[in-house]
Amino acid sequence: MFRKVLASLLVPLFLLSLGLLMAGGQRANPRKGKVFFKKYCRTCHDGSIEAPVLQPITKTMDQWSREFEKTNHVQICLPRVTEQSKKVLITQDLIDIQSYLVQHAADSDQPATCSN
């Protein structure tokens, strides 16, 4: 019985403590990315101007990854974002946005439009 209690209580407590210690590290946060995407990207990419309409299901997971990693499409937009919103998007913000788009892409487990 003692072994069971030990395994059932002390081990998870240890793991949770470890988790708490490591929780402060940098991670992709798709929820934050969703807010940023709607606030800073969709202002142009919503069909109101000539910029193409973009929402997560517009592209596949790989296409979104390429968009952020292999082309300069995102970099081109950054000055306009700063100009319009006075917000300077840092690398972590872009990772958050990318994770939101990838996790809700057309071929993801949870495809999403900007309305959900």
Binding site: M1, K4, V5, A7, S8, L9, V11, P12, L13, L15, L16, L18, G19, L20, M22, A23, G24, G25, R27, A28, N29, P30, R31, K32, K34, M61, S65, I95, Q98, S99, V102, Q103, A105, S108, D109, Q110
Partner: protein, 557 residues
């Protein structure tokens, strides 16, 4: 020099000639014909793609999970209820034949051996009503004396139980088709088996997951049979309104917050604390997003037992025919965003029967208590409507910046009919009169990130003496942890093998789940719960405590 000049002249002529030919030759011209050719080629390629997309009417995804469970448990000491039942039946035979109570149990055994033909005749004509009537006619002192004589011989001391390696494989294929605008089909086919067994039926050991039932057979290891776990259509925006309709085999398993422990997206509609059970039914929902984010109100209806087909209803006298078990209630996502989910589920189950249609191998006759030596597959059909049941749950689920947590409270209330069967009545023993009972349960959990690709989590749930829910379809090997009358602690670590920033398509999960049972009958509405540390009378072996160490690998495709 002359040669050099001639070379330059020759070169110039060659270039000009080449340019002339290039500009005016049909295959190399930048004129309209070439553009038309490119456009035609492009259109043909797009048409092929469109045709292919139109023909792909079904989208198929799925997952394959392999698990290894290591179980270390203690079975509670008990008086064997089936042996006691046999003792009572045999004593009644002795009493009827001799007109006297036996002075000791051996007298009965010797008398039966000497008159075995009469004994078989007696057994064949025995009904539960006869048994109850005969036993009830005994004075209380006689009943006490009979129990005192029989009980000591039925004691089964506490036992250890270990299963060092139990492997299972689960294959799930998800189907989706967009039929037309706002109308879609969803399905899930599931195969779930232990390694080395594909019989499709288990020997009944007292646990709900040893019974092949409509509501549980896709959630408990069963066989290599591919079963229809889910199959329903959803029709959104009915007549342009915010109403939607969904009919079929429901997505009623692994609802919130059950998905958090598996690092999954929401898998089902009703709250997983009270419903983790396949059933067929109808949902009529209304979106109230304009009132609160994600607010969706659903009216749900389902059938738990159909009496009029397959159960030989027509063979029975009208008074003996059973009513269908009907399910109905509400599933209300009160507030549902990426950060928070507040959900309420409340429903009733009317005319609940003593078990549901299913396949089982019974090790003993519940009426006479005699062993059934040849393992015979039996289509079990309920014999009585035991009463009504009401369940409700309220859930708060939060996803903070770096961790997720939830708290859920559930309540159940029974309203039994004054009916019992050889297995008992609603929360009562066979020879008791059932009474209204209520039970409750709490379920709490937290999940934290551990590095970039892993999570750790801790969950706890507690169920009271009369706690009951419809979670028998959960794939916990020992038994649905959320049905436990007692305490369950679970700790887990999940490592996701991600591709880029997408959700993991492969997960390795290690978990330790410790059950500390306080009362018997977890997951059952039939029979009275017994406190396990008070030498209970139990028909089947029951876990006192159990530790399940599980390793699982899930591949999604």
């Amino acid at each position: 020099m002359k040669n050099a000049k001639g070379f330059r002249t020759w070169t110039l002529v060659t270039i000009l000639t080449g340019l002339f030919l290039a500009l005016f030759s049909p295959g190399f011209a930048g004129d309209g014909d070439g553009e038309k050719g490119d456009k035609k080629d492009l259109e043909e390629r797009i048409e092929k793609l469109e045709r292919k997309v139109a023909q792909d009417r079904l989208k198929i995804t799925g997952d394959l999970r392999v698990t290894l469970d290591n179980i270390d448990a203690t079975m509670a000491g008990r008086f064997n209820g089936l042996a006691l039942q046999k003792g009572i039946v045999d004593t009644l035979f002795f009493l009827g034949a001799t007109g006297a109570f036996p002075s000791r149990p051996d007298d009965v055994g010797q008398y039966i051996a000497a008159n075995y033909g009469d004994y078989l005749f007696f057994q064949n004509n025995l009904t539960f009503d006869n048994l109850k009537q005969s036993f009830g006619s005994f004075p209380a002192e006689a009943q006490g004396a009979l129990f005192n004589m029989l009980l000591p011989n039925t004691w089964v001391p506490e036992q250890d139980y270990q299963n060092e390696t139990l492997y299972t494989t689960r294959l799930r294929l998800n189907l989706r088709a967009d039929v037309m605008e706002n109308l879609s089909f969803n399905g899930r086919l599931t195969m779930y088996k232990t390694w080395g067994d594909s019989t499709g039926v288990q020997v009944f050991n007292g646990a709900p997951n040893s019974f092949t039932l409509d509501g549980t057979n896709a959630g408990t290891p069963n066989s290599d049979i591919v079963r229809v776990d889910r199959a329903y259509f959803s029709w959104k925006k009915l007549a342009g309104s915010k109403w939607y309709l969904s009919i079929g085999r429901r997505p009623s398993t692994y609802g919130p917050p059950y998905h958090i422990r598996d690092n999954e997206l929401r898998q089902g509609t009703p709250n997983g604390h009270v419903v983790n059970y396949q059933f067929d039914g109808i949902t009529l929902g209304y979106n109230l997003n304009h009132w609160l984010p994600g607010n969706t109100f659903r009216l749900c209806y389902g059938v738990g037992f159909e009496s009029g087909f397959g159960s030989g209803d027509q063979l029975k006298a009208p008074a003996d025919r059973l009513s269908d078990t009907q399910l109905g209630g509400i599933n209300w996502d009160i507030y549902n965003t990426d950060e928070m989910n507040i959900q309420m589920t409340a429903f009733g189950a009317w005319n609940v029967t003593d078990g549901f249609n299913g396949l089982v191998v019974l090790p003993a006759d519940p009426l006479s208590g005699n062993s059934i030596n040849a393992p015979v597959v039996l289509r079990y059909t309920p014999s009585a409507n035991l009463g009504d049941m009401y369940l409700m749950d309220i859930l708060l689920e939060r996803h903070e910046m770096n961790f997720s947590w939830f708290l859920s409270y559930a309540y159940t209330q029974s309203q039994p009919n004054p009916v019992t069967t050889p297995f008992g009545g609603m929360f009562s023993d066979p020879f008791e009169t059932p009474e209204d009972q209520s039970g409750s349960s709490i379920y709490a959990g937290i999940r934290m990130p551990l590095g970039n690709s892993s999570h750790v989590g801790l969950e706890y749930n507690h169920g009271s003496e009369y706690w009951f829910n419809f979670s028998q379809g959960a794939d916990d090997i020992i038994g649905s942890k959320l049905a436990t009358r007692g305490d369950v602690f679970e700790a887990y670590w999940i490592h996701g093998f991600n591709k880029g920033l997408g959700r993991a398509r492969a997960n390795l999960r290690l978990s330790a789940m410790y059950y500390d049972y306080e009362y018997s009958g977890s997951g059952w509405h039939v029979g009275a719960p017994k406190k396990l540390d008070e030498m209970p009378i139990l028909a089947f072996p029951t876990y006192q405590d159990a530790l399940d160490l599980r390793t699982s690998l899930v591949i999604k495709f």
